[in-house]
Amino acid sequence: MTHIVVDPVTRIEGHLRIEAEINEGQVSDAWSSSTMFRGIEIILQGRDPRDAWAFTQRICGVCTTVHAIASIRAVEDAIGAKPPPNARILRNLIIASQCIQDHVIHFYHLHALDWVDIVSALSADPKETAALAQSISDWPKSSATYFKSIQDRVKGLVDRGQLGPFANAYWGHSAYKLPPAANLMAVAHYLEALEWQREFIKMHAILGGKNPHLQSFLVGGMATPVDPDKQASLNIHTIAQFKKLIAGAQEFVSKVYIPDLLAVASFYKDWAGYGAGVGNYMVYGEYPLDDEAKPDLYIKPGIIRARDISKVEEFDPSKITEQITHSWYDYAGGEEAALHPSEGETKPNYTGPQPPYERLDTSKKYSWLKSPRYEGVPMEVGPLSRMLVNYVRGHEQVQGLVNHVLKTLGVGPEALFSTLGRVAARGIETQLLVDKIGDWVDELADNMGKGELRIHDNSKWEPESWPADCMGAGFHEAPRGSLGHWVHVKNAKIERYQCVVPSTWNAGPRDSGDVPGPYEAALVGTPVADPEQPLEILRTIHSFDPCMACGVHVVEPGGREITRVKAR
């Protein structure tokens, strides 16, 4: 038996450490540890709840926007503000463009190098690459000359001996299966995707002034005025800009991302047999389609348990709890307690080894993440959960896309419960959203035409209009999964603030019953050909798209004393 440590896990957001036991060429046990803590919820106490979105947005700069959205929804729920239709539409545009851009970046820049061998691309015949590219897509950049130029560019790095971010990786590893021609195509698209994401995210600059960390959110609405006849508002010029950017995204996703995904997946079908994980899937739902108190959602909520896709349960937020048995926190009620976020408590208490250290004692506390549970069981969240729940609930577009992917790869729905299933679901969701997002642009244009220009509920802006003591919850489907914020507002100040986030659900440690979290469960059974080069571990971990800064949070009710060092 070999014990291995992967720290830092790279090509993720934040700080993640994986420790694993390797037995007879596969992972027999694994532990997921988050190694960074900031305490943003403590910092929020006593502040104006209208400011909270700006603070929480800084939980993560990769999935920027997501904690801002959850925050304004939570505060609106607490104080009773009702954002007008345009605010809902603008938020849907922001959320969908974030998800589209983030998924593409994940596939090419955070995940692809687990499947694509850059060094092998050097030995490709560019003519073969051109033939391959032309056979799977009519994307115009597919000539042999073009692929030769990409190959020369990579060769330039190798010749100079300055491989930069590509140095000392697992190139040549036996688990890489793509032929050189396919590797070269993927490298070219890695660079093209880098250019594309920069262009597409101008959606956010228009809607939020800048990306990352958009600056147009408001409790009760949005700060981007809408008026077809004003130069300083979102106007008909903006509508045209959106349409152009969305058309570019549709083309890139359908002609580059999805064909690449299918081509790469066809060489790695064995990965439909690894990485299943806990087998429970949870979705809060997203994209309100109307302005009712309980709006219809484009992506539906629901729960699937134990890989049983014959039924979907309704999601009930009162069933969420968090445990800290293996987390560096204390609970007043003891190590075994499981608390709902609205009454949650946390006191950070580091009991791990002093840095620098070699090993964590995983029989004790070993992570800054807590262990969230739904009715006591771990849940996987993210694109796979969303596509599964909506597939089973009969979402027409989701069913069409999922069936197309399964048919192309020649596999059944059971293949989705896997590392490869997660990768495929992310692509399917991206296609779903590039096909849908234009509808919201049209809806915005229609409203402008009708003279519906409201962007904000001014009646609930001043704190005097709020209840003296109120609580609220805000739910959101972030690219990486289900996100919830809970806020308690007292005398116009934040009394308590809590976030239960996607990467806590997925990357959390064992619970009080020693039941592993989704990462830990998914790694068990993963083959590892060479413990010195644990490429396969990265494949399964990256398939979840880890976002560790998001995962770490702490809740501190009522101004309890915490570690206090010199404040700057």
């Binding site: 830092p8 140095a167 147009s216 840095p355």
Partner: protein
Amino acid sequence: MDEPGSDFRRELEARGVSRREFMGFCSAMAVMFGLPKGATAMIADALENKPKPTLVWLNFQDCAGNTESFLRASKPTAAEVILDLISIDYHEVIMAAAGHQAEANLHSVVENQKGAYIAVVEGSIPTGANGAYCTVGGKSAMQLANEVCGNALATVAVGTCASFGGIPAASPNPTGALGVSDAVPGIKTLINLSACPVNAQNLTATLVYFLTYGRFPALDKLNRPLFAYGKSIHDNCERRAHYDSGQYVEQWGDEAHRDGQCLYKMGCKGPVSFQNCPNVGWNDNTSWPIACGHGCIGCAEPDFWDKMTPFYSHLPGFPGFGKGSDIDKVGFWATIGVTTAFATHTLVHLGKKLVGTGADHAPEGPPERTDEGGAE
């Protein structure tokens, strides 16, 4: 034999970048730095002929927002920086290697290129829990910062967290977070590129400045390049004329808001914030927060999470407010008044600080204008 720079030129051609486009880029850089005409050739020469310097990028108590911002860079693009200008040998968010292979890459730079590489730091450095609030490969952020920044030619702190502590250091600073200058005192060359996140344009411009001149740009008192932080947002704001005419947004979505009038009464902190957002914009100059309709939150200033909040309370009143007030007076009153203007909030937090430390903390001063006194 090849002419000097011919490899670089061939690479540009291979990427479909014409000589003309390349010189256009160099010229844009020269304009950005306010350099004379001949500088374009000098920049081109430096980019083509000097060996690629090494850069390592450390992530500590961060959100990776500065990394994402870097990926949005357009002049030059992130791909151009990575493939052509600089060898980025360590960056956890983008590098292929992981675990001990990744650590070996970092170790190799620190050992073999001592005093010759650039260190970029993203995120604050915690001092609490003996460093356990942030570890990478089992080492604390503080241990890594000392080792890596201490042996670098220069350190560039990207974002307000690495520059001044940022959000983790906001009151009550639960983890004892510090910016690089406080955590690793005595670094010989430190450039702070504050903002939340850093504007990619200011990061790439700083790198190109270094590649061109072999030295770093002139800095203000907070170690920020004057070319990017030398003037207030208010001085260059496109809505300044409305401020001078006393035309203010009173409610979100009102006629004045749709007309692009001044956001001062909605809490804009532009008058006490120093950065070039109005000039260079964000995301390839697509927009910036005030243009989009929301006030500035002062994200490049030290302690802005405490001193600029509540974000929707307007700056303190000052003589003549409302009709063409003298901006120097705004600056003056802001200098003495920001803390008291936000008294309720500040006192709550001050109270917490005093209770927490038992120390004689006085309220710290508000942000000061930093363009006075010039380079240091």
